[in-house]
């Protein structure tokens, strides 16, 4: 059992959890992930490591509500327990002295960029971080990232904050301005990672992406997480999650991520229905008491 020490809403449907997991934290490195299971009938869901408090043994994950399991997790409170946290899984991000590194995060890909930016900085790199979201109120981890990087640049789709546009708008401008970039690492939604890779392809900048295919065990046993990289099948949980972005078949991955859409919808709607019912009952109960 793993205790939630703190929980905080970062923006709509996105919550940060600080979980007591000293053994995992002792071993974990930037770029790795864990698998969480809320309870006995629960699904195993992979989540990136969004922060490591080595001193106090506290693991940070940031969970976005997209379906039943993540919704149900986001209803948990400080003091509640996860049945399981397995990890650290996956190979840590490649950290060495590259020179000028650009870390790019989008959506819930922003938190895992934070420990990576920190590690790259510690390794003596100059770190520029670009984060993007649809709108100002959806931006997360701004403060953390501005501390961890030499420079933080922000884009919003609607122009409500920072550069109007996408993270690639900023990246392209840097390239156009002749900024020397030695390495890029991008974590975020698949379309974002694909766009970053397409931007760095021509100037041949080494670009890592952190892939998030559907997983079950996370130890190389099931093959659910297979992705095609450089024409070869790889298991993202043990061969990754970071891969050379220029080699990744993003279209295949996009399709594979939709494999369970039909079921996910059923489960999510049932969960929300049940929740409304429960809330409804509670309200009725309170009405009765009031009377």
């Amino acid at each position: 059992m793993f205790k939630i020490l703190e929980k905080e809403e970062l923006c709509d449907k996105v919550h940060r959890f600080r979980i007591e997991a000293p053994r995992i934290v002792r071993k974990a490195k930037a770029g790795q992930f864990v698998i969480l299971r809320q309870n006995e009938s629960g699904e195993r869901v992979p989540m990136s490591i969004g922060g490591l408090d080595k001193e106090n043994g506290i693991l940070t994950v940031v969970i976005q509500e997209v379906g039943k399991t993540s919704a149900s997790m986001n209803r948990m409170k400080a003091g509640d327990f996860f049945a399981d946290v397995v990890g650290p899984l996956g190979i840590p991000s490649h950290v060495e002295k590259f020179g000028h590194c650009v870390c790019i995060g989008g959506g819930v890909g922003i938190p895992p960029i934070y420990p990576i930016a920190q590690a790259l900085k510690e390794a003596g790199n100059k770190v520029t971080t670009i984060i993007g979201s649809r709108s100002k109120n959806l931006l997360i981890f701004e403060k953390e990232l501005s501390e961890a990087s030499d420079q933080l640049l922000v884009s919003t789709d609607d122009g409500s904050f920072g550069t109007h546009g996408f993270v690639t708008t900023i990246l392209q401008k840097m390239l156009d301005d002749g900024v020397k970039i030695d390495m890029v690492i991008a974590i975020g939604p698949v379309p974002m990672m694909k766009a970053v890779v397409n931007t760095t392809r021509k100037p041949k900048i080494k670009t890592y992406v952190s892939l998030n295919p559907i997983m079950v065990d996370g130890t190389g046993m099931c093959g659910a997480c297979r992705v095609t990289v450089g024409g070869q099948t790889k298991f993202a949980c043990v061969d990754g999650p970071d891969f050379d972005g220029h080699e990744v078949d993003f279209d295949e991955m996009t399709k594979r991520l939709k494999m369970y859409s039909r079921y996910e919808k059923i489960a999510y709607e049932k969960f929300l229905d049940d929740e409304h019912c429960r809330l409804g009952k509670q309200v009725k109960q309170m009405d009765k008491q009031d009377r």
Binding site: K27, S41, R44, V216, T219, G220, C222, E252, K258
Partner: protein, 497 residues
């Protein structure tokens, strides 16, 4: 005290006239709608009648066929006498997992194959009797932890909780060692829980085995991946273990590397079975993990894993469930019982057939597979006739789900993170087969990680040998000392006869 009335033995010449007792089973058309166990097990009466068929041979051939030398006539005699619990304990002298082995061992290839009755009559149903007594003991609440010897002060880590790990842990705990078992998944039991379906091996039986380990004082820690959290070296150097046993199995699924294999709807058997068994996806949406099994399901392979997958797909609602196997029925490695069960349930077998590519739709879902017909040529290294492609025999089968069950390799995680641990060219850990010690002193291994995908009983047998090897190693006794003792025991029993 007897559990049941003694069965008066028949004269030997009449024993062969008794027909083999069949296990009652769920009706095929009913059972494909549920995940409950297929055979119901023998009644005590039927078990005694079946036991009465045994000729109590002076030189019991059946024992030669048993990889762990269970005293088969001995336990069968106890069944006849109505001493069911004593019979279960007799088996447990050499096999820690009779309830499991009675259900999943390929008896027709082992003990029952060489039973003297096999030539002229049908063999004694040794497996069914084994299952019966083990179930009887458990259901009677008679499984008791033995009195443990005083602690030796030695600490041993067991990595992996399959049959090899379970056996090694039980034996070492009974020798007075402190044992900690680490399992990567959230439930202990290895393939017995994530691979083999409920309808063949109810999970409560595996859970009872794990509970028994706990009763023996074994600490079972799940969701703990060795090589990621602690390396094997860290277990020895920092956590203070005197020895480590690696029983991590063969859990790396093989794919055929053909066009279209990553289309949606194409599973490895490990994923398909893990979703259904470990994650309980057959109960979706009550359980959160989904599984997709369409109307036309093709399962590639001819082993137990393939049979388990195809029968699972029927229970998940497949209309057409095919086994696609590149050799003929004779070469299929699955247990005979499972092949029969699959046939009864309406599985369609396509022998001498091999897929060459998959065709998908615009959303990335598999829609059809192209296959070729095969014929059998010269025998290959495995002694089986090699399947050869018949040129131009290509044809297409419409499918929306494919399960690839063409074997597993060994997971490289531990060898990769344990310097100096030697493996062979298939990635299996090399060990001394008398002690199960690897190239690294104090590190032992056994089960599928050493042999490649094999059987439950062989994994359990390896666990037994390893337990002895580990005991001698940590106690500083000469490695092969116990062999002499074993020799002595054998001569002793010879003279008794």
């Amino acid at each position: 005290m007897a559990d049941f009335k003694k069965y008066e033995p028949l004269p030997k010449k009449d024993r062969t006239k008794v027909p083999r007792q069949e296990m009652p089973q769920q009706d095929p058309l009913e059972r494909i709608k549920n995940f409950m166990e297929v055979p119901h097990g023998l009644s005590p009466e039927a078990a005694q009648i079946e036991a009465s068929r045994c000729l109590e041979c002076k030189k019991p051939l059946c024992m030669d066929g048993c990889p762990v030398e269970v005293d088969i006539p001995g336990f069968i005699r106890l069944v006849m006498d109505g001493e069911f619990i004593a019979a279960a304990r007799k088996i447990k002298e050499t096999n820690a997992l009779p309830a499991v082995c009675g259900r999943v061992c390929p008896q027709e290839e082992q003990c029952e194959k060489v039973c003297v009755l096999t030539k002229k009559y049908r063999p004694v149903a040794i497996g069914n009797l084994e299952r019966f007594v083990a179930d009887y003991e458990r259901e009677a609440g008679a499984v008791m932890a033995p009195k443990l010897p005083p602690s030796t002060g030695k600490k041993i880590a067991v990595v992996g909780s399959g049959p090899a790990g379970i056996t090694v842990a039980a034996d070492l705990a009974q020798m007075g060692h402190k044992v900690v078992m680490y399992e990567a998944l959230h439930k202990a039991g290895g393939v017995l829980v994530y691979g083999i379906p409920e309808f063949r091996l109810p999970k409560k039986i595996v859970a009872a085995e794990i509970d028994y380990l706990r009763k023996l004082g074994v600490e079972v820690i799940t969701s703990y991946v060795i090589g990621k959290l602690d390396t094997v070296d860290e277990l020895m150097e920092q956590e203070g273990f005197d020895a480590v046993f690696i029983g991590t199995g063969a859990g790396l699924p093989n794919f055929m590397k053909i066009e279209g294999e990553n289309l949606n709807g194409i599973y490895s058997a490990n994923e398909f079975l893990t979703r259904s068994n470990l994650m309980g996806a057959f109960k979706f949406p009550e359980n959160d993990t989904p599984i997709f099994a369409g109307e036309n399901v093709a399962v590639l392979g001819g082993g137990n894993t393939a049979m388990d997958s195809v029968r699972t797909s029927l229970r998940l609602g497949a209309k057409n469930a095919y086994i696609i196997y590149r050799r003929s029925r004779n070469e299929m490695p699955a247990r005979l019982d499972e092949i029969h069960h699959a046939e009864q349930e309406g599985v369609q077998f396509k022998f001498l057939t091999n897929p060459v590519r998959y065709m998908g739709d615009e959303n990335g879902w598999v829609r059809a597979m192209e296959c070729v017909k095969m014929e059998l040529g010269e025998p290959d290294a495995s002694g089986r006739r090699r399947p050869v492609v018949i040129n131009g025999s290509n044809f297409t089968i419409p499918v929306d789900t494919v399960v690839v069950a063409v074997g597993n390799s060994s997971n490289p995680l531990i060898p990769q993170t344990t310097p100096g641990l030697e493996t062979n060219r298939w990635g299996n850990i090399k060990v001394d087969d008398k002690t199960m010690m690897s190239s690294r002193p104090g590190i032992f291994a056994g089960g599928d990680i050493v042999t490649g995908g094999a059987t439950v009983i062989l994994a359990a047998g390896a666990g037994k040998v390893a337990a002895r090897g580990i005991h001698n190693y940590v106690m500083g006794t000469p490695f092969y000392a116990d062999d002499d003792k074993k020799g002595a025991k054998e001569t002793e029993s010879e003279t008794k006869k």
